[in-house]
């Protein structure tokens, strides 16, 4: 089973999904992230899915769950880089990812978190 690495950049945790994940890897990532948010006191989580070719109901649910858990732990989650074809498919599938913030790319995701958290995170990331 592949494990997705979680990077820490200032107060932000960044996860970049690069390969086609099987369901256990998705669940493992969900747990890893919750642990790391608590351990690091991160104020934001960015999940970069630029390389992801499909998001099905399982991954979609994982994204929503991570966002909900993080919020409970006082961190905001932003999903960045969703491809047009993936977005169109998700809408057709019937998944709206309510409660998940999104941004076009990593840079804009960081900007959004900064905007949300104000200067605190901005200072940490510069």
């Amino acid at each position: 089973m592949d494990r997705v690495p979680v990077l820490k950049l200032g107060d932000i945790l960044i996860v970049s999904i690069q390969i086609d994940l099987q369901d256990q890897s998705v669940l493992a990532l969900q747990e890893d992230l919750a642990d790391k948010v608590v351990a690091t006191g991160a104020r934001g989580v960015i999940i970069d899915i630029t390389a992801v070719e499909i998001v099905d109901s399982f991954i979609g649910r994982m994204l929503a769950t991570i966002a909900a858990i993080s919020r409970m732990l006082d961190a905001e989650t932003v999903v960045v880089g969703m491809r047009p074809a993936v977005a169109i498919t998700l809408v057709e599938l019937g998944l709206s990812l309510g409660g998940v913030r999104t941004a076009l790319n990593l840079e804009k995701g960081v900007a959004l978190l900064n905007h949300l958290e104000g200067s605190r995170i901005a200072a940490a990331v510069q």
């Binding site: 969703m82 977005a87 809408v91 990812l97 999104t102 076009l104 790319n105 900007a111």
Partner: protein
Amino acid sequence: MGVTLSVPTDAGRRRIEELLQENEERVLKRWLEIAGSSSSSHVDRSSLAGQLRELYQALRQSLDGSGDSDLRGLLAELSRSRARQGFTPTETAVVVFGLKEALYESIETDGSPEALRGFIWFSQLIDDLGLLTMENYAAAREKVIIDQAEQLLELSTPVVKLWEGIVAVPLVGTLDSARTQVVMEKLLQTLVDTGSEHAVIDITGVPAVDTQVAQHLLKTVVAARLMGAECVISGIRPQIAHTIVTLGIEFGDIVTKASLADALAHALRESGVEFVSRKTRVAVRTEED
């Protein structure tokens, strides 16, 4: 007639095969004259001759059962290429049917009951092959039409950049489901390519929408949100607003504006551009974040 019918088909068929072999050059030459003359100027003689020779060989092989002849495949290819090059159905069919006439001259010279009986059988065979050719031709034409419609769609889909971070797609004319889908895909891709967080879908030039089209517009706005961008729909005509409401389509929290200008102003405000109006002068200041 009684004479011809008393000859068994097998004997007739054998005679035809013999004639096709013995008179090959003569039949081919005549066939080329017939097939070539009825086609308009864009026919290339030498390549047609090559094609006919190939078909002739394949036909003979399929008759005497020697080798794995691909007569049907060759005919399909012939009709496909003719359909694509804009030959008419008649010009295409005559290539196949011309062989009947070309062979008939050898039959007449031969004059035997076997040859005449065989010719009836041969005519039926050619008729079948001709029908097959027509079917292939029609299918190929349909494919050409579908492809052209698609190219037109691509051409009539302008996505323009209005401002740094703001793109717009001004839709004009009748929107059907297929066109709306193409336009929307292109819009979403442009958001990624230009890093734009705002899009304006302007439907001022659209006279009416049906449920499906309204749904596609709606889905595009939701898809854009999933990608991290916001859409504004502008220029909704009263009739369209009426349609949307009577159809019970939920437009929810989607921002709509009366005109493209209003939509642009909204998008600019959202992206942090501030308008300061001083009497008649308008100054635009961009806020750094």
